[in-house]
Amino acid sequence: MTASPWAGKAGALRPGTAAAATAGVTPFAVGLLLAAALQYAVGPAVGPFFSDLLIKIGINVILAVSLNVVNGYTGQFSIGHAGFMAVGGYAAGALTYYTSMLAWGGPQVQGGVFGVGSALFVGACLVGGLVAAAAGWAVGLPSLRLRGDYLAIVTLGFGEIVRVLLQQTQDVPFTADEARALSPVEMATHLGGSLGFSGIPFYTNLFWVWCFVTLTLLVAYRLKESTFGRAFLSIRENEIAAEAMGVDTTRYKVRAFVIAAFFAGVAGALFAHKIGTTLNPRELGFMKSFDIVIMVVLGGMGSISGATIAAVLLTVLPEALRGAADYRMIVYALMLVLVMIVRPQGLFGIREIWELPPFARRRGR
């Protein structure tokens, strides 16, 4: 017996045209073109300083939008995002560094934007993401049963554990011969310790960063607009009701956590291969996590465009206010407190910018 009088209707509306079939991938292609335009037209035109800024913006957008999946959609509160970033960054950095050492005798960049080295790099980014996702699963599975504020502490503790462990690793070998003498397990324990992991080849460029930005934004947005996103949001709105409507809340929380950790890992990988980075555990401590939290909170918890805009602003602002660096965090902190008092849902709440009055088309009620 079926309870629904409309059971037969599911699938009745089936857009089957060729145009509809490609609609799913078109935005990816558009993103790819934009990334190429940034790499080949915008980058050379604006010079290295602004290219670097655009890369930083891209990485922060990935971090903020991914954390938004946990803190915004699902309403859980993770403040250990930089820990996942560190996990991904070190995993990817170690992979490219040691592979380069073994295969090419040194950590120099091999080939151009689409060369063999880039293939290794993109692979390493994905591996970094997967390792971070695995860490997210391991942390999330037990702790997501806990209430929100406890989760915050566990994630913070996780970030600190990662930092402490990374600081205990040994120096990175400088020559190919030293690298060859290490077994794979030993390589994982030679990550530079508290002095940092230097020598990771600089593969990160505008093209790859913005390709991953596209991927992050599309995944975040499409999940939000799907049954998965609604399940995430229902947990945030009312966990007991969500569970009563058949949403397996623990499972969905873990899913959100794993997705967020994956993209944090990718962002870490991009950061690790950025020009001028010496990967250092201290830089990826809870201050970095707080930076990301601030972006999500200010932008609006649940709003992808809000988190993106906040990530852009909060990356550009410190560069613009270099003279007042001492006051930067004071201003952030005051903003955080004021936003919570005046507009607790953040700039956009869970809405996207195009759903807000000046942009929204009047919808018939």
């Binding site: 309870a3 857009p15 499409r222 799907s226």
Partner: protein, 267 residues
């Protein structure tokens, strides 16, 4: 016809307090039964036991032959037991439509990868879910408010949205926890018609907690009365109404303080 929902001897204690003792009930498909009792009698606790929010110390709960003992709420919902909440628990920031669509989640089949790639199967399913949810809302007279945030609905609409949302999980049994609370007489009359309509149209069995005796007596075919967690009476509305034990439970024994008045209580 065998029972759809079969509850046998469930009990629950909080510390030393027996909240529910030895509660049994059987609902067949299409049944419309009431669960009444004075404040603190354990009615909502029974709902919480049935839906897995609490776990019974003893007893068994079977739905369509499936043992639900110890299952978590989401699995119980998937098995076909849906509920509304006494203190409304809508997804306040979400739209009215999305509130219902969340509950459609159980009937969605596409994978996360499908959602990310927006495959045609996924889009077809989303369109069907939207159509289904919209139609359901129209039945409940909420068709013109689908885009509104649930928290902005008037109280009576919120109650009806809760019922619509519960129905969207395609339940076999629907538990309604004080659906008339806070409604005016016109709304109550409409509600009792709606409850019957829901039962007929969707073929669900309904178990109803309600303080408004007029509504319960009018709508329900069978009534179970709880007091202090104990089942003190069971029968047709007329039998229960004239049962001296029930009257005493509501009005209190002469020596005791008055408990409450059976009709027109608002929470």
């Amino acid at each position: 016809m065998t029972a759809l929902l079969e509850v046998q001897g469930i009990s629950l204690s909080f510390g030393g307090l027996k909240a529910v003792s030895d509660f049994s009930i059987a609902l067949r498909a299409g049944d419309l039964q009431g669960l009444i009792g004075p404040n603190g009698a354990g009615k909502t606790t029974v709902f919480n036991l049935l839906t897995g929010v609490y776990r019974a110390d003893r007893g068994s709960i079977r739905l369509g032959g499936l043992d639900l003992g110890g299952a978590k709420p989401s699995r119980i919902a998937a098995a076909g037991l849906a509920r509304t909440f006494q203190n409304i628990r809508l997804f306040g920031d979400l739209s009215v439509l999305d509130n219902v669509r969340v509950a459609c989640h159980l009937r969605a089949a596409t994978s996360m990868a499908g959602a990310i790639l927006r495959t045609s199967a996924h889009r077809g399913e989303e369109a069907a879910l939207r159509a289904y949810a919209t139609e359901l809302l129209e039945i409940f007279g909420l068709g013109d408010r689908t885009g509104e945030q649930a928290r902005n609905l008037p109280y009576g609409d919120q109650r009806r949205l809760e019922i619509a949302r519960a129905l969207a999980t395609s339940p076999k049994v629907l538990l309604l926890d004080e659906p008339a609370a806070g409604m005016n007489p016109q709304e109550k009359a409409a509600l009792s018609a709606l409850i019957r309509f829901v039962r007929d149209r969707f073929g669900v069995a309904i178990l109803l907690i309600e303080h408004d005796m007029g509504l319960v007596m009018k709508v329900c075919e069978g009534i179970t009365v709880l007091d202090h967690g104990v089942t003190i009476a069971r029968g047709t509305p007329e039998q229960v109404q004239n049962d001296p034990v029930v009257i005493e439970a509501y009005l209190g024994a002469p020596a005791q303080e008055g408990g409450g008045v059976p009709a027109e209580r608002r929470s």
